[in-house]
């Protein structure tokens, strides 16, 4: 059972399963032929078609705006929620509050989408850019809350106590000590919120209105008509962007890691010298 060969096989098969479809999709975005099964040679044709597709570009722009705005709002709200959950053990309705944080994580999107839409209709808000943004803020803030909460749980409270002890009032302590130290988690939360917003089809479909067609909605409507290399091209670009983001983020953490190791070496030498 505990054989390295078994483990290696499992991992190879697992990752092949995860990556082969994506790789195929990327490869065929460079296919000159319109048919999926026929390789008609390398071509960037579909990228230029995509570029001149005004509807697609508009949708991309809407998606970017919704994503930036809702991720930022969601990060602020989610961070506050995480603070409320970890720092205040008692307030009226705390149980209900933590329920409201966890439920959207698993709630089927059709329910979240439909219920929010009915709210907007009931209070008479026209559906469009803002309703999608609010909807995305609501479900992404819960993800941010979870990410930030897990950081706050391991946060050494004596750091805040030390700041208070040295004369720093609580709110200032939050901005000078707590926030800088949990910032990586806040950023991770933001990135997660942004990609979730970028990704969402169902909730956006329910809450969108004229002029606020997001990229997933656009892609979905084209996919239903069949596989086209043009969609492969958009998908490839999206995958590329996200991969770049993730790699950049992990390189930054790796650099911090290397720096930490170097610091520790310095510390050992410092100890020897003193």
């Amino acid at each position: 059972m505990r054989s390295p060969r078994f483990d290696a096989t499992v991992l190879t098969l697992g990752f092949a399963f995860l990556y082969i479809p994506i790789i195929i999709l990327i490869v065929y975005s460079f296919n000159a032929s319109r048919l999926v099964t026929v390789w008609g040679g390398f071509s960037l044709n579909w990228y230029s078609t995509m570029w001149s597709n005004q509807g697609l570009m508009d949708a991309a722009w809407v998606t970017a705006r919704v994503g930036l705005l809702s991720a930022t709002l969601g990060t602020i709200l989610g961070t506050l929620a995480a603070l409320a959950l970890t720092r205040y053990s008692r307030f009226p309705g705390r149980m209900a509050f933590s329920g409201m944080i966890y439920a959207p994580l698993v709630m089927p999107e059709v329910i979240t989408g439909l219920s929010l839409l009915l709210l907007f209709v009931a209070i008479g808000i026209d559906r469009g850019f803002w309703t999608v943004t609010i909807a995305h803020t609501t479900f992404t803030m819960c993800y941010v809350a979870i990410v930030v909460q897990s950081r706050l749980l391991t946060f050494d409270r004596s750091l805040e106590e030390a700041a208070l002890d040295l004369g720093c009032p609580p709110v200032k302590t939050f901005f000078k000590i707590t926030l800088p130290l949990i910032f990586p988690a806040v950023i991770a939360g933001w990135m997660l919120a942004f990609t979730l917003s970028l990704d969402d089809l169902v909730i956006a479909s329910f809450n969108t209105g004229p002029g606020a067609t997001t990229l997933p909605i656009k892609i979905y409507s084209q996919v239903r008509l069949g596989v086209t290399p043009e969609i492969n091209a958009i998908c490839t670009i999206l995958i590329g962007l996200v991969t770049l983001g993730v790699i950049a983020a992990s390189l930054t953490t790796k650099r911090t890691e290397i720096k930490r190791i170097r610091d520790e070496h310095l510390a050992v030498r410092g100890a020897a010298a003193s």
């Binding site: 106590e161 040295l166 410092g270």
Partner: protein
């Protein structure tokens, strides 16, 4: 002439002066966390410039007591007076106390310099003053060349000194130290203990230290409060705590000690010598020179420290009292001295320590030898609690 208990460290004893005003006063303090009573109706005075230790096992309430003084917890009942002022409701950031945390709590995103300056910046002091004070502090803890380092680029001992400098930078009226040396290795800890004492002397501050390490408390403090389950068992100087513990708990907690349970057979007045007690410890007769409240027939404990017990293969002149005959059961070699566990016929075990004065011994005592343990009348003491 009255004899003194142990060596005299310095001529400083405001607690013996009935007119002295306490600097800090804990008055009938009770702290409950739900059903748990962390501190139970505790009253304690600490004087200016005193180096005071709260000593006890974990969970005895010593840290809670300190955190109440720092302002992180409020007492459930009772009040804390600092220079005569009730400090209830004053938030930690407005209290003239500073704390050195057990984990040091150094801000990892700030340099050593910034850490030390942090408290000063909160007071909006001019930049030049802050820089000067930071400089002075760095010099005080000998970390000048590490000013620009981040905490994770420092060794444990250096971090400890940064934490100390940071908590001293604001010249607090009281410095609170929560297990300040717990994270250091033994050798560094001993060095630092003496550094702390020097600092306290030169700066003339009041230090309150929380520790579970009895040696540390003994070394640094003017007075020690031994705590157990939320109450103070004894407050006294280190020498008093060691030589005259007031209870079995304190005697057992501080240092190594032999405790024999027994019954008083005679007290001073009957013996014709005031301050003498005879005890029958189940057939082992003990005579102690000690003023004692107990009377004939009381159940008491006789306690004697191993280093005050002599061990010899030869019988003493008088074997009827203060002597114990048995077989060497076990020997612990501890370098500076050796500890002998001697077992009598009835199975009782008494410990005797012998300093290893010379490297070579003519007639070593070894396992299975029959030996006599003896002690003088002023070596042990009677414990009534």
């Amino acid at each position: 002439m009255a004899k003194t208990l142990g060596p005299v460290k310095r001529k400083f004893s405001p607690w013996t002066d009935p007119n002295a005003v306490p600097f800090i006063r804990f008055e009938n303090i009770t702290k409950r966390f739900g059903d748990f009573v962390a501190v139970d109706n505790l009253t304690l005075d600490i004087y200016e410039k005193e180096f005071f230790s709260l000593l006890g096992p974990s969970g005895c309430g010593k840290t809670t007591l300190m955190r109440m003084l720092a302002g992180f917890e409020e007492p459930t009942e009772g009040r804390i007076l600092l220079q005569g002022n009730d400090i209830r409701g004053v938030p930690p950031y407005r209290r003239p106390t500073n704390m050195m945390f057990q984990s040091y709590a150094l801000f990892p995103h700030m340099t050593v310099e910034k850490n030390i300056a942090f408290g000063l910046e909160q007071d909006n002091l001019p930049k030049a003053d802050i820089a000067a004070r930071v400089e002075e502090m760095l010099k005080l803890v000998k970390l000048e060349q590490f000013a620009k380092r981040k905490p994770n680029q420092l060794s444990g001992g250096q971090r400890q000194r940064v934490a100390l400098a940071r908590s001293l930078a604001k010249r607090p009226k009281v410095l609170l130290l929560d297990e300040p040396l717990g994270a250091l290795d033994k050798k560094l800890r001993e060095e630092t203990q003496f550094e702390l004492m020097d600092l306290q002397h030169t700066l003339g501050l009041t230090f309150l230290i929380v520790t579970h390490d009895q040696e540390e408390a003994m070394t640094v403090s003017d007075r020690i409060a031994v705590m157990d389950k939320g109450v103070i068992v004894q407050v006294a100087t280190p020498a008093e705590i060691y030589e005259a513990p007031n209870s079995r708990y304190v005697a057992d907690f501080i240092g190594d000690i032999n405790i024999l349970e027994g019954t008083i057979t005679e007290t001073g007045s009957a013996l014709g010598a005031p301050g003498a007690v005879n005890i029958d410890c189940g057939g082992l007769f003990v005579a102690v020179d000690q003023e004692c409240q107990a009377v004939k027939g009381d159940q008491v404990a006789f306690a004697v420290r191993p280093e005050k017990v002599r061990i010899s293969p030869d019988a003493p002149a008088d074997t009827s009292v203060n002597s114990f005959y048995g077989e060497v059961w076990d020997i612990g070699y501890l370098g500076d001295f050796s500890l002998f566990l001697v077992r009598s016929e009835d199975g009782r075990i008494l410990r005797a320590a012998q300093a290893n004065v010379s490297r070579l011994v003519d007639r070593p005592i070894t396992f299975g030898d029959m030996v006599w343990l003896t002690w003088s009348r002023d070596a042990g003491l009677v414990l009534t609690r």
